[in-house]
């Protein structure tokens, strides 16, 4: 049987082992949960955007009237709690090049993701189901997205997975708790947590990182590999973060 060489490509597990890279995530479904999910996501966003920029300059798509060209990252949301754009920009993410799609519930979000992946023009689709502050609001609607998320069953996930493999795109679901996106088709489950930096080891790492002394407090994020089909389970990757101004 004849097939394209690119269809034979498999996700490659790099030797460095960091689990949230485009090389690892492409062609599969990843679930990312925990309070530091957005912090660790910035690296992946940056990587995808740099890769898209290189590809578009190689194909000369910038010549098409100077427009920003194709949408390579789509962020699908089921709520109104957006990532704070100045923070993303401070981490090197080009916020203007991310298309945000608002859908009423998780099932519609999955449909939107399917449409994005079918277009063959997207590298990374983020399904954002996490809305940690919803319970604190006086006027919050009790949509209970976690229960609606159960409607995203294996059939839906199977379709999404097939499309991911076909278009060599990555599908990343941000959830509040690990396992919210149920199903065996989730390739990797990661939990990103954060704590305030206090120990001497953190201080050394902080100094090495060259963090800005004028910023807010120091934090340490931990990205833990809860489930993986290729990597080292329960491996944790730590990183020093600086807090926003005013957060000590």
């Amino acid at each position: 049987m004849l097939c394209r060489a690119r269809d034979l490509q498999k996700p490659v597990q790099p030797s460095s082992g960091y689990p949230l890279t485009f090389a690892v995530s492409r062609g599969c479904i990843t679930e990312l949960s925990g309070p530091a999910a957005l912090d660790v996501l910035c690296r992946l966003l940056r990587e995808v955007q740099q890769r898209s920029a290189q590809r578009s300059s190689a194909h000369g798509s910038a010549r098409r009237g100077g427009a920003s060209g194709a949408v390579r990252v789509v962020w699908i949301m089921t709520h109104q709690s957006l990532p704070f754009a100045p923070d993303l920009a401070a981490n090197g993410v080009a916020v203007r090049d991310i298309a945000f799609v608002f859908t009423p519930h998780p099932v519609a979000a999955a449909q939107a993701a399917e449409q994005c992946l079918r277009s063959n023009g997207v590298d990374l689709v983020i399904l954002d189901f996490a809305e940690p502050a919803a319970g604190l609001c006086a006027t919050a609607e009790h949509t209970q997205p976690r229960e609606r998320m159960r409607e995203i069953d294996n059939a839906v996930l199977g379709r999404l997975l097939r499309l991911c493999r076909r278009s060599h795109a990555a599908l990343l679901a941000i959830t509040e708790r690990s396992g919210d996106l149920a199903g065996s088709l989730v390739f990797t489950r990661l939990v990103a947590e954060r704590r305030r930096s206090s120990s001497a080891a953190d201080a050394t790492a902080d100094a090495n990182a060259g963090a800005n002394a004028g910023a807010g407090g120091r934090f340490v994020s931990s990205l833990k590999l809860v489930k993986t089909k290729t990597g080292r389970q329960n491996a944790a990757y730590r990183e020093v973060l600086r807090g926003p101004y005013g957060m000590l």
Binding site: G66, V71, P86, A133
Partner: protein
């Protein structure tokens, strides 16, 4: 740097009027915004200017000191038609013609690469002037390197500019002349054409620095403030310290400062194409339920309408009105990613929309309205542009598909803004801004990504509600509160005074802390609000 030319049809409304009524050409006439005694003046002839008429004056006020002045109105349709005529004439010389949205009658023509067709830039300028005068208008033409410089050249016609334009570089009393010319020149229409040519970018900068600021200032207030400080010319403005401009002279002057500095340019856009809206109606013999039978009928109607399109016409929007069985209507409006004449693309959008909206009642009649535009033929792009094909074509139509399925507001892009309040530091825009028009932002918070130096230290990313939500204090978990951090702004209008806090909830025993809450106390409204989470 590519050359650009500005064609300024001074007092465009008056010229449109006198083209239709030539007997008014040598008289004192004014154009009013509408037919009323209180209507403001939007244009005046040279004789009316001599009588003391200025823009914005009420007609009743003009009658006080010039009772014999003749007044008329020019409809928007007439102005638009005249603009399209001028654009078509200019497009015969260069394919990229942009116009100034704020000031009708001002056009910029891309003159890049035309040096092989015209021996000198002056010859090109004369050709432009000739094309416009053939339509019955008189224009001033400036050929240079920036939209700002060429526009100023057309509104500040001074002796020094004219001399330089003719090749002699002697400067004689330029400031006095510029300022004087600008006083009148918001430019009364005298019926004379002229052309100014800048030989180099340095020449343009030098001459522009001597031009008066008044014609490019939109608000009278900013002009008064600058005059009070003795700042009349562009050069005098540029000598001010950059960091103080915004705080002391306001946003408009800062914008002008950056434009004069060359960091920004005057806004310009292609003239919106004239469009027509053919309508197809069909009453159904039998009421139709479900999207599939409906789509078949609509596709048939669409096909017939597309066959009737004239050569070069394409569909940009569709409006669908479905009349339901027991009265009532269901309306849908769809917009294609780009104007197209392909039926299957339009039907795909219709299918996505109709499948997303389930109609409760059967449909008895269909009205399909198309927004048809003429496709822009850009000859030069035949050599440089590669039409989107295959995958690229798909991904350009993705936002349109998502809008068709989830509604027009479903897709957006974040555009950073220079504001104080967190929820105002970002706004949603329907379309991503083209790279070419992105301006250099100085504020760190609204920056494009800063990659190199901050790669090593990642900042914590917060979440923020689009609109801050009122806090339900009973649900607030116990924890450590850090703050307050005061934020106060808009003291001149709807004042905002907030005390910001971060609440880190008590950990349930583990090493890591749960998600912190970003909240504030609103001192104006005396209530607690949730801004987001950390």
């Amino acid at each position: 740097v590519a050359r650009t030319a500005c064609c300024n049809i001074i007092e465009f409304p008056v010229q449109v009027l006198t083209r239709h009524m030539p007997h008014l050409r040598d008289s004192a006439c004014i154009v009013l915004a509408h037919e009323a005694l209180q209507a403001p003046v939007i244009g005046y002839s040279a004789k009316a200017f001599e009588l003391g008429v200025r823009h914005g004056m009420r007609y009743s006020a003009v009658l006080e000191f010039a009772p014999h002045v003749q007044a008329a109105t020019v409809s928007q349709a007439e102005l638009a038609q005249a603009q399209h005529q001028v654009q078509a004439a200019l497009q015969s010389l260069s394919d990229e013609v942009l116009h100034n949205r704020d000031e009708p009658g001002v056009f910029w023509v891309n003159a890049g690469g035309l040096n092989l067709l015209y021996a000198t830039a002056r010859a090109f300028a004369e050709q432009l002037g000739g094309e416009i005068s053939r339509l019955g208008f008189q224009a001033r033409v400036g050929v240079g390197f920036t939209r700002f410089g060429t526009y100023l050249a057309t509104v500040n016609v001074t002796e020094s500019l004219q001399e330089d334009a003719n090749g002699s570089h002697g400067h004689s009393g330029s400031r006095g002349h510029s300022a004087h010319a600008a006083e009148g020149a918001g430019g009364a229409f005298t019926g004379e054409s002229s052309a100014t040519v800048f030989h180099s970018i340095e020449h343009e900068r030098r001459e522009v620095s001597r031009c008066a600021l008044q014609p490019v200032l939109r608000s009278e207030r900013a002009g008064k403030r600058l005059r009070r400080l003795g700042i009349v010319t562009v050069g005098e403005l540029l000598r001010l310290p950059r960091s103080e401009i915004r705080s002391t002279l306001g946003e408009e002057v800062e914008e002008l400062y950056l434009t004069a500095l060359g960091e920004r340019d005057l806004p310009a856009a292609p003239l919106e194409e004239a469009h027509r809206t053919p309508v197809a109606r069909r009453s159904l013999d039998q009421a139709l339920a479900g999207s599939e039978p409906l789509l078949r009928v609509i596709q048939e109607m669409l096909n017939m309408e597309l066959r009737r399109l004239r050569r070069g016409e394409q569909v940009a929007r569709m409006r669908l009105t479905l009349e339901l069985e027991r009265g009532g209507e269901h309306r849908e409006e769809l917009r294609a990613a780009y104007p197209t004449g392909r039926c299957e693309l339009l039907v795909r959008l219709l299918r996505l929309r109709l499948e997303a909206r389930r109609l409760e009642l059967p449909v008895v009649s269909i009205v399909l309205e198309l927004d048809v535009r003429r496709a822009r033929a850009r000859q030069s792009m035949l050599f440089f542009e590669i039409e989107p094909q295959g995958d690229e074509q798909h991904d350009e139509s993705l936002p349109a598909d998502l809008r068709a399925r989830f509604g027009d507001d479903a897709v957006g892009y974040l555009e950073p803004c220079e504001r104080q309040l967190p929820e105002q530091r970002v706004r949603f825009v329907e379309q991503a801004k083209p790279l070419a028009s992105r301006v250099t932002q100085q504020d760190e918070s609204v920056q494009e990504p800063q990659s190199a130096q901050q790669d090593e230290s990642v900042q914590v990313v917060r979440r923020a509600f689009v609109v801050p939500q009122r806090l339900n204090r009973r649900l607030l978990p116990p924890g450590t509160l850090s703050g307050p951090y005061a934020l106060s702004c808009n003291w001149w209008g709807n004042s905002e005074r907030r005390l910001y806090y971060y609440l880190v909830p008590e950990s349930s025993g583990g090493e890591f802390s749960p998600t912190a809450v970003w909240l504030y106390y609103d001192l104006e409204r005396a209530c607690w609000m949730v801004q987001g989470t950390v």
